[in-house]
């Protein structure tokens, strides 16, 4: 396996996950007609941004095509061909996001099912988790600023596929404290920050990357502080860790290995 392959795989997965997260959030936003101006700063109906990210993912995929199964390439290539077509320009934003999500979920499933658990797989995993955690941090920070709006509990849950799982536990009696505790600290829900952090650490360990990450302060704060107000700084700190890791990998780690 070449370092260059890992590098392009990393960016393929990051751009793809970024696209999926934004499509998911935008779709939830549209579905629930949540039009509070500050609810999510990056919810924009900017199709050019989506198409640009899909293209970047596809361009990187093109460079690792010899490492992945054909079906992954077909799905990503087809998504790009469709997203940049006149047909896509004419559909509503919800249908646009739906199609992105359909392809994206297929690709995710294909990666899980077809890749050997080697450096490439773990690199993709790191790329994916970085984007997901960044997105979750963004959403939660926005949420904390506007905690008096109950609908935002819903959007946070929907955006991370957590609603059904959450409701099984809490019988639809959600409140801000519950939502946050669930999405940050639940040990069994795969999209929780705690679970993602654990998986991320495992993949980093496999790749031999040493980078300090910790949720301890955030989790302790969550347990201690029922008002949630003081969570912001702890969450920001996690966000900085994740962004720092992303920058370290992209700017230093892969470049150093390639050169």
């Amino acid at each position: 396996m070449k370092y260059r392959t890992l590098y392009h795989g990393f960016w393929m997965q990051r751009y793809l996950t970024r696209t999926l997260m934004e499509a998911r959030i935008l779709k939830v936003y549209q579905t629930y007609h949540l039009d509070h101006p500050s609810i999510l700063r990056y919810v924009k109906e900017d199709r050019a941004l989506f198409i640009g990210n899909i293209k970047k993912s596809r361009d990187n995929c093109l460079l690792v095509r010899d490492m992945i199964c054909d079906d992954v390439w077909y799905q990503l290539n087809e998504l790009w061909l469709w997203a940049s077509s006149n047909e896509a320009a004419e559909v509503g934003i919800e249908a646009f996001c739906d199609n992105i999500l359909t392809h994206g979920h297929l690709i995710d499933g294909l990666f899980e099912d077809t890749l050997r658990r080697d450096e490439f797989f773990h690199t993709l995993k790191v790329g994916k988790l970085l984007e997901k955690m960044m997105s979750l941090c963004d959403v939660l920070l926005q949420f904390l600023q506007q905690q008096d709006i109950p609908e935002q509990s819903l959007i946070v849950l929907e955006s991370f596929h957590a609603k059904d799982s959450f409701c099984k536990l809490y019988h639809r009696k959600w409140n801000a404290q519950h939502v946050l505790r669930y999405l940050i600290g639940d040990a069994l829900f795969p999209n929780s920050m705690r679970e993602e952090m654990t998986t991320l650490e495992n993949s980093l360990h496999f790749l031999g990357v040493s980078y300090p990450l910790s949720l301890a302060a955030l989790l302790q704060q969550l347990d201690n502080d029922g008002s949630l107000v003081n969570l912001t700084s702890a969450l920001s700190s996690v966000q900085q860790q994740i962004e720092g890791l992303g920058e370290y990998l992209a700017v230093e780690h892969f470049q150093e290995l390639i050169s």
Binding site: K2, D66, W73, Y74, N77, L257
Partner: protein, 486 residues
């Protein structure tokens, strides 16, 4: 015949051998069942299948890169549904002729970079060969592993109006296009599964493994430890899709120049688990860019020291550097003589009469009859650097006259040969379009010919140019294992 369907109003090419019909409405006997099947199809259904094939090729990313094209960089190679069909009897001759030709060319390269007996015996003029742009004196005395220079040859064949196949040119450096052969076959299996099932067509899908086995047979390393890479110039190369496809199918690592380095005259690839010694490099980079220490110093694609490793036999390079001398179009003229000289046999496949412009009398004749000849640059490919005299303007002829006088060694002239034509689906109906054939010959310890090859089609009206970069398309090529019934 069922020509009231899609075959209705078929427009053949006048004067050309027709690959389907021996006379108006009468198909060649060996392909009668296939022609019947295809021509019975509803025309609009076939057009729909044609569109499906384009969609599938685009989705699968079976493309080549063309710059400054209005549809963007990635373009699909136009594919036609009507296969080109070769009988087993015809193929037996072609196969034997190709093996003979490649064997002689390989002996020539060993001789030329060694004792040069063929020059001493005046079979090939010394001044012609030593003035080739593809001649690198530094390669003199370097022998490739197993003495194999031509691991992969793409020999372009055309069929004359009398039905006989003959060689148009040899591609012995980095012949491309084989991925489309494999993809075209997959497409035909998807679109016509019932037809494919009933025909006894020789398979092509073993090509990547045959090539990998052939190259492995020349390496001194045991199979278990073998590390083989495909060296690509990168994603902007026209054939990048093919590089990826072959690397994946052959189980090779796809690498660029900066993924490799040479330490103590051994080649290594940088992997996530450290450096790994490389045994085989299937290069898709022209030789002059391979190593700045040996060839062009200004190359940005080279691996410094690669040729030192190669000289010591530490790595197999496929194709071997130096092959350009054998596919120089001026040297082509002497290949029948080479076959007689090295093999003491008559050439099985004929070739086109060729005039050498570095001969004063022949140049004079060509200059006086530029409107009759096809003028080709001796080192060009892709349909570039040529003049098709009978279809050229006066201005183009004057420009070529100037070029010929300036550099007579750089050009050859051939009469315009009427290529054979094959029915091709067009929006207006079934039309005869000119085709050529590029079979692929693979050599390791032994030689193997991929059954069929790439049939390229000149899709433009009245065109003779089949190259993908200039409006050409392709067809699946079927070699019948037996002349079978449907």
């Amino acid at each position: 015949m069922g020509c009231n369907k899609c075959g209705n109003d078929y427009r053949a090419v006048s004067g050309a051998y027709d690959e389907y019909f021996k006379s108006s409405q009468h198909p060649h006997t060996h392909i009668e069942p296939i022609v019947s099947y295809l021509l019975e199809k509803d025309f609009s259904a076939l057009l729909h299948l044609q569109q499906t094939s384009e969609h599938l090729f685009r989705k699968r990313g079976v493309t080549f890169n063309v710059y400054h094209h209005e549809d963007g960089i990635e373009k699909i190679f136009p594919f036609d549904l009507f296969p080109r069909i070769i009988s087993s009897k015809e193929w037996t001759v072609i196969e034997a002729g190709l093996k003979q030709r490649v064997k002689a060319l390989n002996l020539f390269l060993n001789d030329f970079y060694g004792p040069q007996e063929i020059i001493k015996d005046r079979v090939i003029p010394k001044n012609l060969i030593l003035t080739s742009k593809c001649y690198f004196t530094k390669l003199q005395g370097i022998s490739p592993p197993g003495n194999v220079y031509i691991h992969i040859a793409g020999i372009d064949l055309i069929r004359l109006p009398n039905g006989e196949f003959c060689v148009l040119e040899d591609n012995l450096r980095t012949p491309s296009g084989v991925s489309y052969v494999l993809q075209n076959r997959l497409m035909m299996k998807s679109l016509f599964p019932d037809l494919m099932e009933t025909q006894n067509i020789k398979p092509v899908d073993s090509y990547p493994l045959m090539l990998a086995d052939a190259l492995a047979s020349l390496s001194s390393t045991t199979d278990q430890d073998l590390c083989a890479v495909l060296l690509t110039p990168g994603p902007y190369n026209a054939a990048y899709y093919e590089h990826q496809f072959l690397a994946k199918e052959m189980g090779y690592l796809l690498v660029r120049h900066d993924d490799l380095d040479v330490i103590d005259d051994w080649v290594y690839v940088k992997t996530a688990k450290g450096r790994r010694k490389v045994d085989i490099i299937y290069r898709r980079i022209d030789e002059e860019y391979l190593d700045p220490e040996f060839f062009r110093a200004d190359t940005l694609l080279g691996i410094p020291g690669l040729m030192r490793a190669y000289r010591l036999g530490h790595v197999v390079l496929a194709n071997a550097p130096g092959n350009g001398i054998a596919d120089d179009k001026a040297i082509y003229t002497f290949i029948p003589a080479m076959i007689r000289y090295y093999l003491h046999e008559e050439p099985i496949l004929k070739q086109i009469e060729t005039l050498l412009c570095n001969d004063a009398a022949q140049l004079d004749h060509v200059l006086q009859h530029l409107d009759r000849y096809v003028i080709k640059r001796v080192d060009a490919s892709g349909g570039y650097g040529m003049l098709i005299g009978p279809q050229s303007t006066r201005e183009q002829q004057l420009e070529f006259a100037r070029l010929l006088r300036l550099n007579p060694r750089g050009y050859i002239a051939q009469p315009l040969i009427e290529l054979s034509a094959c029915p091709t689906l067009q929006a207006g109906g079934l039309v005869g379009k000119r085709v050529d054939l590029r079979p692929y010959v693979v050599t390791g310890k032994s030689t193997w010919v991929l059954p069929g090859g790439l049939t390229r089609v000149a899709l433009e009206e009245n065109s003779y140019i089949v190259n993908s970069s200039q409006g050409g398309g392709s067809k699946d090529t079927w070699v019948l294992a037996t002349e079978g019934a449907l």
